[in-house]
C-alpha cells in the first residue's frame, strides 16, 4: 500500500515537473528558435556568433557581471553582520531593520530613480561616473530579497547559544561570525547571493534612466538594430540565471535536510 502511494506520488511529481519545465522552457526555446532563424527555413548560428562583434554589448555583459558580484558581496558585508548583531544584542531593533530592509519592495523602480538622480549627479561629480556605481542603487534593490533569505537561515540555527559557547571558548566577534555562524547557513547565503545576481542581471529601469548601459539596456538597444543578436543574448542571460538556480538547489541545500531525506528513504526502504 505504501508502495502504491509512493508510486502515485512519483507520477504526480513527474507530471508537475514536466508541466512546469515546459512552462519555463518553452519561451526560452522559442527565443532560441527565433535567434537561429536564417533565410527561409534554414538554421544559422550567425546571431550567436556575432555577439562578440558588438563591443558595447560585451561591455554591457561585463559590467552587469561585475555589478552582480559587487552587489552580492556588498549585500553580505552589510546585511549579515547587521542582522546577526541585531539578533544577538539589539533584539528590540529587529522590527525596524526588517521594515527598512523591506521598504524598497514597496517603492516602484521608477520612483526610486527620481530620488536617485540627484544622488547620482553628486556621486558622478564627486566620486566616479563609472557604471559600477550602480552597485549602490542595486544594493538597495536587493535588500528585501536578501533580507528574507538570510533571516530564514538565521532563524534555523540557535545563534545565541552558539555564539555564547564560542565566546566562552575564547572567540572574538569576527571569529564568531565567520567561523561559527556563516558555516551553518551556507544555503541561506547562497540563496541571498543568487537572488541578488538574478536581480542585477535583469535590471533595466534604473540603469536606463540613469543613462548607464548595462546588459539589459544594451539588449534593448540592440533589439532595435539586430533582433536576432539581442534575443540570443537574452537567452544566454536567462540560461545563466537558470544554471545558477540549479547549481544552488543541488549544492546549497543544508546538510541536515539532506540527511533527513536520506533517513526517510532508508526508513521507507525497510518498511517495504
Amino acid at each position: 500500500m505504501i508502495c502504491a502511494r509512493r508510486r502515485r506520488l512519483l507520477v504526480f511529481r513527474v507530471v508537475v515537473f514536466v508541466l512546469m519545465g515546459a512552462f519555463f522552457l518553452f519561451p526560452i526555446w522559442s527565443m532560441f528558435e527565433f535567434s537561429t532563424r536564417g533565410t527561409g527555413t534554414s538554421r544559422t548560428l550567425a546571431a550567436w556568433l556575432t555577439i562578440a562583434q558588438y563591443p558595447d554589448l560585451v561591455a554591457g555583459i561585463i559590467a552587469s557581471l561585475e555589478l552582480a558580484a559587487i552587489t552580492s558581496v556588498a549585500m553580505l558585508v552589510l546585511l549579515l553582520p547587521t542582522m546577526i548583531w541585531v539578533r544577538l544584542r539589539l533584539p528590540g531593533l529587529s522590527r525596524v531593520i526588517e521594515f527598512i530592509s523591506l521598504l524598497p519592495l514597496t517603492i516602484p523602480a521608477i520612483v526610486l530613480v527620481v530620488g536617485l538622480v540627484p544622488v547620482y549627479k553628486w556621486l558622478n561629480d564627486n566620486l566616479s561616473d563609472s557604471i559600477l556605481t550602480l552597485a549602490f542603487a542595486y544594493l538597495v534593490l536587493v535588500l528585501p530579497y536578501a533580507f528574507r533569505a538570510l533571516a530564514a537561515g538565521l532563524a534555523a540555527i540557535d545563534i545565541k547559544t552558539l555564539s555564547e559557547v564560542a565566546r566562552s571558548l575564547g572567540a572574538g566577534w569576527p571569529t564568531v561570525m565567520w567561523r561559527i555562524i556563516v558555516p551553518n547557513m551556507p544555503g541561506a547565503i547562497l540563496n541571498a547571493c543568487l537572488l541578488s545576481v538574478a536581480l542585477v542581471l535583469g535590471e533595466f529601469t534604473i540603469a536606463n534612466n540613469l543613462l548607464y548601459n548595462n546588459l539589459q539596456v544594451e539588449i534593448a538597444m540592440l533589439g532595435r538594430a539586430n533582433a536576432g543578436v539581442s534575443i540570443a543574448v537574452a537567452v544566454a542571460a536567462l540560461l545563466f540565471a537558470f544554471v545558477l538556480l540549479v547549481v544552488l538547489s543541488f549544492v546549497g541545500g543544508p546538510r541536515s535536510r539532506r540527511v533527513q531525506v536520506a533517513d526517510v528513504w532508508e526508513r521507507g526502504g525497510t518498511l517495504k
Binding site: 540555527i157 540557535d158 547559544t161 552558539l162 555564547e164 559557547v165 564560542a166 565566546r167 566562552s168 571558548l169 575564547g170 572567540a171 572574538g172 571569529t175 561559527i180 558555516p183 551553518n184 546538510r255 541536515s256 540527511v259
Partner: protein, 371 residues
C-alpha cells in the same frame, strides 16, 4: 562503564588545583525585574557549588555574570583573586556547558573540542592530541569524527563537557546541562560530570532547578529566591536543617501542620516536636514536617486520636512509597519503605507517628494566603 584511561590524563589534570571564585554583592535588573539582589558567594578551590531555585530566581543570571555573558549593574566577580568584572567573556578563561544543542553543527566532535584550543593558537598536532585526550576523559574516544546530529543527547553533552574542559579553564560553569535528557541518562551523566570534576579538580558552579540533582552532585548547595541566596550549605544541612520556610518547601516535600509553640517546642496534634530555632515565642504556628519523619501505625487501640486518619492514596516510588493520609480536612504525606506501605492500602485506618526531629515553623501572620 568508562574504565580504561591513560594514566597520563589523570596525572596531568589532577595536578592543577582549582582557584577560588568570588561573587561580591552582584546586582542585576532587567527593567523592573530584579534578577539579582546583592548576591555574594565564594567558591573554594576545586569546590562544586550547585545553585538551586525556581525559574526566575536569578541562578542563571549569576552564572552568566560569572561567565561574562552579561554585565552586572553593581558588584564584582573575582576569579583566582583577579577582578574580572570588566573582562569580556572570551578572555575570562571560563568553560561553559549549556542546556543542550550547543555543539557547533558543522564540526565533528573532535573539532568542537579543539575549537577553544585553536582560539588559543595551540599547534594543530597538540590540538588533536588534547582533543583525543578530552574525548577519552568523557568516554567518547570512538566518536571523534561524529557530527552533533549523529550523537545522542547524552553524548552531545559529554562532548560539550570535553570542549569546555579542553581549554583548561579556571572555572567550569554548568547551566542546567542535564535538563534536556531523559531520566536514566540524566542520572548517569550527573555522576559522570561529578567524576570528571573531581578528577580535574576544577572549581565548578552548577545551576539547576532540580533539587535531587543539586543534592546529589554538590559539595555545597545554594538555594536562591528572588535574586538572593536563602541558604548555602552542604546538601545534608540544606535538606535536614532548612534555614527558611522557602528552602523547606522547595527542597524536598513538606507537610504543613498547624500546631502551638510552647516552651521551645511545637505541639502538633498531641506530639511535641523540637524546634530548629528555639527562640520562637509562644503561640499558634505552622510546623513544617518532612514526609520521611512521618510513619504509620496500624489503628488498633484509639478510635479517634488526633493523628488518626484514612489512607487515600499510595504512590509507589521503588524502594520507598509515598502515602497520602487524610486526617479529616488535612492531608499528610508519609514516606516509608514500600514493605511498610503495602500493609496500609488505600481505605485503611491508620495512626500517624511523628518522629521528633527538629522542625521549622512558620507563623500565619506574615503570610495569610498560605493554606
Amino acid at each position: 562503564m568508562i574504565s580504561s584511561r591513560p594514566a597520563a590524563v589523570t596525572a596531568g589534570t589532577a595536578a592543577r588545583a582549582g582557584v577560588e571564585v568570588r561573587l561580591e554583592d552582584l546586582r542585576r535588573r532587567y527593567g523592573p525585574v530584579v534578577a539579582l539582589d546583592g548576591l555574594s558567594l565564594t567558591l573554594a578551590p576545586g569546590e562544586l557549588v550547585a545553585l538551586l531555585g525556581p525559574s526566575g530566581c536569578g541562578k542563571t543570571t549569576a552564572l552568566r555574570l560569572l561567565a561574562g555573558l552579561e554585565e552586572a549593574d553593581q558588584g564584582r566577580v573575582l576569579i583566582g583573586g583577579k577582578d574580572v568584572t570588566n573582562i569580556s567573556a572570551n578572555r575570562r578563561d571560563v568553560g561553559m556547558v549549556f542546556q543542550a544543542y550547543s555543539l557547533f553543527p558543522h564540526m565533528t566532535a573532535a573539532e568542537n573540542v579543539a575549537f577553544g584550543l585553536q582560539m588559543r593558537k595551540v599547534a594543530a598536532t597538540e590540538r588533536r592530541r588534547r582533543a583525543a585526550e578530552m574525548l577519552d576523559l568523557v568516554g567518547l574516544s570512538g566518536f571523534a569524527n561524529r557530527f552533533a546530529h549523529q550523537l545522542s543527547g547524552g553524548q552531545q553533552q559529554r562532548v560539550a563537557l570535553a570542549r569546555a574542559l579542553a581549554i583548561r579553564p579556571k572555572v567550569l560553569l554548568l547551566d542546567e546541562p542535564l535538563s534536556a535528557l531523559d531520566a536514566k541518562v540524566r542520572g548517569r551523566l550527573r555522576d559522570e560530570i561529578r567524576r570528571v570534576q573531581l578528577e580535574v579538580g576544577i572549581t565548578t558552579l552548577f545551576v539547576t532547578h532540580d533539587q535531587e540533582e543539586a543534592l546529589a552532585i554538590a559539595d555545597r548547595v545554594g538555594v536562591m529566591q528572588s535574586g538572593r541566596l536563602e541558604q548555602l550549605g552542604p546538601p545534608i544541612q540544606v535538606y535536614s536543617r532548612p534555614a527558611t520556610p522557602f528552602v523547606a518547601a522547595f527542597v524536598g516535600l513538606t507537610n504543613r501542620l498547624d500546631g502551638t509553640v510552647r516552651d521551645g517546642a511545637v505541639e502538633v496534634r498531641g506530639t511535641r516536636l523540637p524546634l530548629v530555632r528555639t527562640d520562637a515565642r509562644d503561640g499558634p504556628a505552622v510546623a513544617l514536617v518532612r514526609p520521611e519523619a512521618v510513619s504509620l501505625a496500624g489503628e488498633s487501640d484509639t478510635a479517634a486520636g488526633p493523628l488518626n486518619g484514612t489512607v487515600i492514596a499510595t504512590a509507589f516510588l521503588g524502594a520507598t512509597s509515598r502515602v497520602t493520609v487524610d486526617l479529616g480536612g488535612v492531608t499528610v504525606l508519609a514516606q516509608l519503605a514500600t514493605s511498610d506501605a503495602v500493609a496500609h492500602p488505600a481505605g485503611t485506618r491508620v495512626r500517624l507517628v511523628l518522629r521528633p526531629d527538629p522542625v521549622l515553623i512558620e507563623r500565619d501572620e506574615p503570610a495569610p494566603d498560605h493554606k
